[in-house]
């Protein structure tokens, strides 16, 4: 095939990927978009196979074997994974892209002729710079995503891990990375390449460990972005249009999601990245008076209140995901609807452990997506609502974000649940939320606390209805 046709096909593949993302503007077109994505991938793979210099049977078998093993594992995981585990799955997948970028860069260094980028010891300096950047970002993505995965999976504690001089050490490692990329570009030394790779693997771990569990939506988005930039770096090295376009799309996608998540918490990107937020040492516990009276209620009370309400808004949070309460919740809503109550759902941008986490769980429980509203679309409704049912959310409802300039969450956009007639909170205990702030709302007269496991509590409410 002529080089022009090959370049054209890679361009087509890139356009398919743009259409795949364009489809996500609504759920109906998204399914078609996914087909575009698969087509783009098929075009890229087939085009590459036709130009691959090999005519060797052994190579052909290796390729089939690799795709079969990987494809088999991928299909198995994608079928088995529960929707509540989606954040850790995405983190794990990011780590694979990062490692693949490192391996491809290494392969390009050892066999540049196969990629058409010169001969060993004689590569273009621009290729080497791109390769150095690609391998660095890829390695950071790899280990960073693994740390994020272990935190999300609960293999290690989700609380931030900080140590003295942390930022200084990270800064010095960062500077050494830049110097090594320059040295590598000038010398094409394999030793520097591997030193660069291992240093980048190390910094990937170090930059993620100080970031706490509930900041994971930002971390996952950021790693998403990194995996894109790594792919783009390799795309530059190989001169491959499909990779460059995809890398740019994914890179900007992750960056925008990080921005949306930071805005949802009213924190700067650097504040999140530098970490330490929500660790024990900065928890503000001025109001943690254990003896303050709260109104406790039972499942029967909650059922009675909601059944007699005209309208109910449900505010789900990470606690719902942990308790896997989404299906029971949908049953409860079905019962309420039968009793003539109008029900909608309100979702805060940073609810859960990744962007859109709550929406997926509700969709899994067959909640129609047009009953689910984003913060800015529903916030004005609370004042006309009889009952707000908060299940597993806390900080995102805390009025201190509006009233207390001293609070660590001051300025964060919150759901105005306190404006509704009655607020029902399902919580396991009076413990404060991730930000370490006590929620003033718990002590108000129109609030009723329902203590217990979210799923059991909702099931009991269903029984009482």
């Amino acid at each position: 095939m002529s080089a022009n046709i090959v370049a054209f096909l890679y361009l087509v593949s890139g356009v398919c990927f743009i259409l795949a993302l364009r489809g996500l503007s609504n759920p109906e077109s998204a399914r078609l978009g996914n087909i575009f994505g698969i087509s783009g991938m098929a075009i890229a793979v087939l085009t590459t196979l036709t130009i691959s210099a090999t005519t060797n049977i052994l190579d052909g078998m290796l390729i089939i074997l690799g795709i079969t093993i990987g494809g088999g594992i991928g299909i198995y995981i994608a079928r088995k994974i529960p929707m509540t585990a989606m954040p850790q799955l995405v983190a794990a997948f990011h780590s694979l892209v990062g490692l693949a970028a490192v391996l491809v860069a290494a392969a390009a260094l050892y066999a540049p002729a196969a990629m058409g980028i010169g001969s060993p010891g004689n590569m273009h300096m621009s290729s080497l710079v791109e390769m150095g950047l690609g391998v660095t970002i890829g390695a950071i993505t790899f280990t960073g995503s693994i740390v994020a995965f272990t935190k999300l999976q609960g293999l290690v504690s989700g609380s931030p891990l900080t140590f003295p001089k942390q930022h200084l050490i990270n800064l010095l490692i960062g500077i050494s990375l830049v110097l090594m990329i320059i040295a590598f570009s000038l010398t094409e030394s394999h030793f520097i390449f591997w030193a660069l790779t291992f240093t980048a693997l190390l910094i990937g771990i170090l930059i993620i460990i100080p970031i706490g569990g509930a900041d994971m939506p930002v971390v996952i988005s950021m790693l998403n972005s990194y995996s894109g930039w790594a792919a783009a770096g390799i795309g530059f090295t190989l001169g491959n249009t499909a990779l460059i376009i995809t890398g740019a799309l994914v890179g900007s996608s992750g960056a925008i999601l990080s921005y949306i998540m930071c805005k949802g918490m009213n924190r700067s990107f650097f504040n999140v990245i530098l970490g330490g937020f929500g660790s024990d040492n900065n928890s503000v516990s001025s109001d943690t008076d254990e003896n303050r009276p709260v109104k406790r209620g039972s499942a029967e009370d909650a059922a009675f209140i909601m059944k007699n309400a005209g309208s109910v808004i449900i505010v789900p949070g990470y606690g719902m995901a942990v308790a896997q309460a989404q299906h029971a919740l949908r049953e409860m809503v079905d019962e309420l609807k039968k009793a003539g109550v109008s029900v909608s759902y309100a979702i805060h941008p940073v609810a859960g452990r990744m962007p859109g986490h709550m929406n997926v769980l509700l969709a899994e429980a067959q909640v129609p997506y047009d009953e689910v509203y984003e913060l800015e679309d529903i916030n004005s409704q609370f004042s006309q609502t009889d009952v707000t049912f908060v299940i597993g959310a806390n900080d995102v409802t805390n009025p201190a974000a509006k009233t207390d300039p001293q609070s660590p969450i001051y300025g964060m956009p919150i759901l105005d649940v306190e404006r509704s007639g009655t607020v029902l909170f399902i919580k396991r205990s009076m413990a404060s939320g991730y930000a370490g702030v006590q929620n003033e709302l718990f002590f108000r007269d129109n609030t009723m606390m329902l203590f217990g496991d979210a799923k059991k509590m909702v099931e009991n409410i269903v029984k009482s209805l």
């Binding site: 996500l24 998204a30 196979l49 210099a53 299909i75 002729a113 196969a114 799309l249 996608s253 925008i256």
Partner: protein, 134 residues
Amino acid sequence: MNKESIVNVIDAANVEAITLVSNLEHAGVLDVVDPFMFRLSIFILAIFIGYYVIWSVTPALHTPLMSVTNAISSVIIVGALLSVGANFIPGSAEASDIFYAKTFGFFALILASINIFGGFLVSHRMLAMYKKKV
């Protein structure tokens, strides 16, 4: 014509062509753009496309967005395929280097395949769950 004179003619033609091109460049008529600039243009424009396309994604689909972007970034598989197909050409590289490149490529191929099949399938699973009110 014998071989030597053919070579001479070709050499002369080459010199003439090079002179011509350099004259044109000098006159600003023909300037050779580095392929890097071409790639950079694609890259920058794609970032802008990404910016506008991603802002139009509904927040309800942000999780599928992540799994789809993850799946498509596995197009890095093209690099893996090229590495697996690396050939030993005497004089251009050590045989052991080619062996390393093939090994790296093979593992990259497995990882990228996990991502491609897993990423698209899990996106499909998620997107199939989003239903409108009936």
